[in-house]
Symmetry: C2
């Protein structure tokens, strides 16, 4: 297969419960694996490669995941109006593509992104989480002081080296710009909203784990911010379980900024 290719953007939702995360792994059921297989079937191609904005871990959900793929122009033209419907016919019920549209060639789901936003949901009711929401909500059954958690979260905002909150991975930086970190009680659940330019591995769940330690009184309000001084990962932070976490949205600049943003991101990641 050769010839002209078209870059497309996919908007994706999934329940992470029965997936071993996003990234394809041999012998495992993954979101990327199911989507690439579904696209190859519908497009009658031997394979399709997806690049994603947020490589979520096993058990993490998404309502606003974004990926891109380069498709042969002929196949795309043949099925574009029916592709979403056909894809829904072959995908399992726990993953959904809500939109597929042509994107500029310099759109990169990962490197063009300006920010990622996640929500982490916690029930601290002593009777447990709502059974109908238990796969998306962590149940602690101990009361959490959400005001203390909100104060601790505010102290983490801004540009910092989050190495204390990150699992080590070769290469790249752990300097991140935390743009939002808020804590609110909504309908019986504590919702932690976290937005940053990007996150390193396990960073969101470590940030939330540190807040939970504040909320249940094990740590002081200023403890999480004190971890910003560390030179390596903090072993005292409990990483919050995956199932409370959902990738809500990924933000991009206007189309004329895609290439510039990608170039800037790639350079920074290699610092």
């Amino acid at each position: 297969m050769s010839g002209e290719r078209v870059r497309v953007r996919l908007d994706i939702a999934y329940e992470g419960t029965e997936f071993s995360g996003w990234v394809v792994q041999p012998g495992r059921r993954t979101v990327q694996g199911e989507l690439q297989a579904g696209l190859a079937t519908v497009l009658r191609l031997p394979s399709v490669a997806l690049m994603v904005a947020g490589r979520t871990d096993a058990g993490v959900h998404a309502v606003g995941q974004v990926a891109h793929a380069d498709l042969p122009a002929q196949q795309w033209a043949d099925v574009r109006t029916r592709l979403l419907h056909k894809l829904a016919g072959v995908l399992p019920a726990d993953v959904q593509v809500s939109q597929i549209r042509e994107a500029p060639a310099d759109f990169d789901a990962r490197f063009s992104a300006l920010w990622r936003r996640y929500e982490y949901r916690i029930s601290d009711s002593d009777v447990g989480a709502d059974p109908l929401r238990r796969r998306q909500v962590l149940s602690t059954r101990r009361h959490l002081d959400d005001a203390a958690m909100a104060e601790a979260a505010r102290a983490l905002l801004g540009l910092h080296d989050f190495v204390g909150f990150c699992k080590w991975r070769a290469g790249g930086t752990t300097i991140r710009s935390l743009q939002e970190f808020s804590v609110a009680r909504v309908g019986g659940e504590i919702v932690c909203t976290v937005q940053a330019d990007a996150f390193c591995h396990s960073m969101v769940r470590s940030l939330v784990g540190a807040l939970i330690a504040v909320g249940d009184g094990h740590r002081s309000v200023d403890w999480p911010a004190s971890l910003l001084d560390l030179q390596r990962r903090c072993a005292d932070i409990g990483v919050a379980p995956a199932h409370g976490l959902t990738l809500m949205a990924v933000g991009y600049p206007s189309a004329d900024q895609f290439a510039a943003r990608s170039a800037q991101t790639r350079v920074r990641r290699e610092l």
Copy 2:
């Protein structure tokens, strides 16, 4: 075990996916079975018997189920302030008791009830239901005419013999008072709300099945109401799948009316 007993009311929520319905059945995992076993453990009793407002089928969910039990006064007094918390510690995550409180001796979860309200949720998006809500929402992937469904639903309101919509069961009447049957599009889902004094077996799912046939154009708007003239169950109605259905609430009169309502209900059921 003898002596004084106390009647208690339990407010219950569950996700029906992994239950073979409410009613205890040998060798099956049921909501009643799990709750009775949990209560017996926490109260250190050989057994506890629950009477329920709505005996939901396999796969049906509840957020506002109500049951009652008669507990030995001594055990109740010993644990009443800690019972909810202890119960949450032994129950599986897909069933939750949100409240347990003492009730008058003539309160009967089933026979004192004035009405039951259910919601049935349908996604007619051609990309399928939201993956995070797929266990509570039927996905049809064909567009449904919700205005036509709403009109068909209105024509069913009032006191009728719903035998055409009921699976046959020995004894009792199929005359029911349908107090509400509305259809609304809410955030990408079609929500059918049904309230009646009581429902016979499979009645809600048959009512919704008849509406879906109207919504997808297989039947005319006046077809569901025409089935009220039948003398026996209508074989042409598709019973909607269980997983879209949730018992939302059960209504009761003020406490001084419990006994009168129970007496009235028992007489009517034996007509």
